[in-house]
């Protein structure tokens, strides 16, 4: 299946932010991040013809991006520790140094989750409804709810632990 140039450019133009966040969450270093970003763009572009109007485009896009990230992360062989990456990377935030620290703490906490939990929390942070999360990840709504309670608790504890 071909990747149409127009679709590729459109995907990049409109959904760069989402794809970037997914690739940041699922990699530990800049090279892997770039590779994953490219892979997701290509996968979205190539699978575009399979997109059906019965689901929202953003739902479909998250599904493709997360499936690509989850399958790529299995193959990831680079051994840069997550800590090194999250300490060094400069997250451009809209606020102060304090807000940058908070973002780093959040990323560090998310990096400790397994790949499915990462996808769940990402979708929740992106303001997706439980119905949409269930549809994207192919699990039941009640399962989403239960898992999210547990993940949020783990995240809070990890972030509070980092502060102390």
């Amino acid at each position: 299946m071909k990747c149409d140039k127009l679709i590729f450019d459109k995907v990049l133009e409109n959904h760069r932010g989402i794809i970037r966040k997914v690739s940041m969450l699922y990699t530990n270093n800049r090279e892997d991040q770039e590779d994953l970003f490219q892979d997701i763009c290509f996968q979205i572009c190539k699978s575009y013809r399979t997109f059906r109007d019965e689901s929202q485009f953003s739902t479909w896009l998250y599904r493709v991006a997360l499936n690509t990230a989850i399958s790529q992360v299995r193959k990831n062989t680079r051994k840069t520790p997550a800590e090194t990456f999250y300490e060094n990377i400069h997250y451009a935030t809209a606020g102060t140094e304090d807000s940058e620290d908070q973002v780093q703490q959040l990323f560090r906490a998310i990096s400790l989750l397994n790949r499915i939990d990462k996808a769940l929390i990402l979708l929740w942070l992106e303001e997706k409804s439980y119905d949409e999360i269930a549809e994207i990840l192919g699990i039941s709504k009640s399962n989403v709810s239960v898992k999210l309670v547990r993940i949020k608790k783990v995240l809070s504890e990890t972030i509070n632990g980092q502060k102390q």
């Binding site: 071909k2 990747c3 149409d4 140039k5 590729f8 450019d9 990049l12 760069r16 932010g17 989402i18 970037r20 966040k21 800049r30 991040q33 770039e34 590779d35 970003f37 490219q38 763009c41 290509f42 572009c45 990377i89 400069h90 997250y91 451009a92 935030t93 809209a94 606020g95 807000s99 940058e100 908070q102 973002v103 703490q105 959040l106 942070l125 992106e126 303001e127 949020k152 995240l155 809070s156 972030i159 509070n160």
Partner: protein
């Protein structure tokens, strides 16, 4: 920590900033990085085999040292070194040609098109030269082993000679098939990349391949005959001394 606090922290990440430079890519740049990985894999394959051939050269020289009083082994070693030199020269030129066609200064579609033409034209040479390493390692290795264990070339029966010949052939053919399937995979991958670029590069490559293929047929035939002759000659000399 409350839900809203977590979401507020998440929303501090700007969508448009903080992306590494490499993320501001065009379709062509993305394809370029993929074609680069194909070139590197093929280059590494050739370089690793050249290292193997260097080891074979050292083994032949060691055999010359060990068996300097045995003229028949010296003939085998000299024949082996000549064969090794020929294979290494061909492989070295192939590697140089690969570097030339995949010059990073060229546009991506040109690099991909050149690479496809080059691999299609030279795939037989790749397969033969790399597969030849099996015999080039086995023969001097066996001679070194005999010297270290027995202090001389051990006389061989017809059966052991047949077993060694079969082992060499199995190694060489297996290696040939392995390299062939790897190259086919790379060629298919380049096809996909070129097809993703949506232009006439693929058609151009096909036309060029067809023209070049006719010119290369004679060269392939000569190299093939040379290899068969070399292999038979080496076996004949080995049989006469063992």
């Amino acid at each position: 920590m409350k839900d809203e606090q977590l979401k507020n922290i998440w929303n501090m990440i700007s969508d448009e900033t903080a992306a590494p430079d490499g993320l501001h890519l065009s379709q062509e740049q993305a394809i370029s990085s993929r074609s680069g990985s194909v070139q590197n894999k093929i280059r590494n394959m050739l370089q690793n085999d050249l290292i193997l051939k260097a080891v074979s050269g050292i083994a032949f020289l060691t055999d010359l040292l060990f068996y300097h009083q045995n003229p028949q082994v010296i003939y085998v070693c000299i024949g082996g070194i000549l064969f090794l030199t020929l294979m290494t020269t061909i492989q070295w030129k192939t590697l140089a040609g690969l570097n030339q066609v995949s010059d990073p200064g060229l546009p991506t579609r040109e690099v991909l098109s050149n690479l496809l033409v080059y691999l299609k034209r030279k795939s037989n040479l790749f397969e033969l030269t790399i597969a030849s390493s099996q015999i080039l390692i086995f023969v001097p290795g066996l001679l070194v082993y005999y010297y270290l264990v027995y202090g001389q070339v051990k006389p061989m029966t017809g059966l052991s000679f047949a077993v060694y010949t079969i082992l060499i052939l199995i190694g060489t053919i297996t290696s040939y098939i392995r390299i062939q399937s790897q190259l086919k995979f790379h060629i298919k991958y380049i096809h996909v990349c070129l097809s993703d670029l949506n232009d006439n590069a693929l058609n151009f490559a096909f036309n060029t391949i067809e023209t070049q293929r006719k010119q290369d047929n004679l060269t392939r035939l000569l190299v093939g005959l040379l290899l068969i002759f070399g292999f038979v000659a080496l076996l004949a000399v080995m049989k006469s001394i063992m």
